[in-house]
Symmetry: C2
Subunit: 326 residues, 2 copies
């Protein structure tokens, strides 16, 4: 599957060449045709590098927390990768830039590699890019790799969940109802971080979170709840301890590898599936837009096209069957 150029770039990533790493990340982000063979070469289901997702509403101090974690892991001699997911929107751009400035202190440290990922096209695209970038960072021996997302929409949660362990960051005073009522929000974090723990309302928040966690049907999957202050650094040690026990006790490397592999495969199936279906529709109607025209003219319906796509599948299988009999 590997061309010599893809092979060369994969080698550069593995040998920790920073310019090679940057180049491959750009290829992943731009959907370069060499990206799949490079990723195929770099992928290791049992990689030891841990990826940590950090998610939560804006204003919960995610960037400050990320910054603290970078400092902590650097002190322990780790090379740290960071993916900062920036959905480009007129409503978030400004504030986001301000946040990211806090990470600048690490930008001259060669042991830290920070990469911002923009929202190119649809959200599925950004999720695919993050998924692949995590594998590239891991192959270049960055351990851990932190993924920080904006907000807690479905897309952001999905992106953060691509990591091996997800931290959900909550703070007192942002409105407990809003923070926790969102369907299933508590189910997305392996660790719930109660940040800004020096603020009033921390007791109520912790009680509320614990009461909500009591409702989880499978209590063996109950996330740990850690109070900390990213600003002062208090509680960061407890948090990193919780991350370690999350790996060793809670889940284990093998289970993490299986979960990660499933997630990546499922997401690639979704991506390629849409591509396949679009292609079939285009083959028949010239383009998806052409199919829309046919529907508007009353010649077909989206449901008939859906049945055609299912039927195509059945025919294909029958053809394969024929071929096997030859």
């Amino acid at each position: 599957m590997l061309s010599s150029k893809a092979d060369d770039l994969a080698c550069k990533v593995r040998s920790k060449d920073q310019r090679g790493l940057a180049r491959v990340l750009s290829m992943v982000e731009n959907g370069h045709p060499l990206a799949p063979p490079i990723l195929h070469s770099l992928f290791n289901p049992e990689r030891s590098s841990l990826t940590i997702g950090i998610t939560g509403y804006p204003g919960t101090g995610k960037s400050t927390l990320t910054n603290r974690l970078i400092t902590y892991y650097r002190r322990h001699g780790c090379k740290v990768g960071v993916i900062a997911v920036d959905p480009t929107s007129p409503f978030s751009g400004g504030a986001l830039l301000g946040d990211r400035v806090r990470m600048q202190e690490h930008s001259t440290d060669p042991g830290v590699f920070i990469r911002s990922m923009g929202n190119r096209g649809h959200l599925g695209g950004l999720s695919g890019t993050t998924r692949d970038a995590l594998e590239v960072f891991a192959a270049a021996s960055y351990d851990p790799v932190l993924v920080e997302t904006m907000g807690v929409g479905q897309a952001e949660v999905e992106i953060a969940s691509l990591a091996d362990i997800t931290l959900l960051v909550l703070v007192p005073g942002l409105g407990d109802e809003v923070q926790t009522m969102k369907a299933g929000i508590m189910e997305i974090g392996n660790i719930i971080v109660l940040n800004k723990a020096d603020r009033p309302g921390i007791e109520q928040l912790e009680m509320f979170v614990n009461a909500s966690l009591d409702l989880i049907p499978d209590q063996t999957a109950r996330p740990s709840v850690i109070r900390c202050s990213a600003l002062s650094g208090e509680g960061i040690d407890k948090l990193t301890d919780a991350i370690v026990s999350c790996v060793s006790l809670g889940t284990g490397r093998k289970i993490i590898a299986r979960r990660r592999t499933k997630l990546i495969l499922r997401s690639i199936i979704r991506e390629k599936g849409r591509e396949l279906a679009r292609k079939h529709v285009s083959d028949r109607y010239g383009s998806v837009e052409g199919a829309v025209e046919s529907i508007l003219q009353g010649k077909t319906t989206p449901y008939e096209i859906g049945e055609l796509l299912s039927g195509f599948l059945t025919n294909k299988r029958e053809n394969d069957h024929e071929r096997n009999r030859d």
Copy 2:
């Protein structure tokens, strides 16, 4: 495409038979094999029935607003359909039930048909169910059909956006930052409803919302902002006027029909595409789980499987080409 049984059920829906309608909605929800031919028969890209999505954070009074809109449209002689989207979660179930009780006053009115849709399986499933249920309601001459969702996650926004017009409900005091910082949240509503307008903080909220809307690049698509109090009923007339002008001035029936058709087709392409890709993977590895095993054993990678799916597509097209030359 129609079997006589599907034809019979489609007729019942069109002739406004309530039991037939309920039955078809259940078939749609359960993925019954007759659902696609029935939907094919009922689908009308230029249907006159208007569908209205209502979305916003919990606690913003969406159910009370829905209730008001039902009352308003009933007074004007309309038959009103309601789809209440309930993502089943231990963290939302209780509160939700309480909210929905408010709609009970309409439950004995034969001109109102309320249907709760649960989150069966993954979120894509619920979105597909809502998409199809809207077409069924429209075919049974319910006009308007209201879709009320929980929260403002990506999935909820997607579901509400399946409607022709979307109302985004905000309230003073829920934390302006949280309400509007979420990437692009303001872009999802055709009309922004500032509910609980009698509460303190309404002025600031309105200023904040307008300042955010000033940033939208295309100001012709700027949503209108309507203050109201769903509880007292004040401002509901202004809201329904805004809905009317949204249809007649802002977009027009033809543009709505085109947008709706595109959305439905795109969502069916996504759904069937995943099905197709899963099938191909299963054909090769026995099951998706079998592919995961192969990856964990180091025999392949998700990226190689992705390339196989792309390659399958290319081969298929080549085969078609061969066939055309015969």
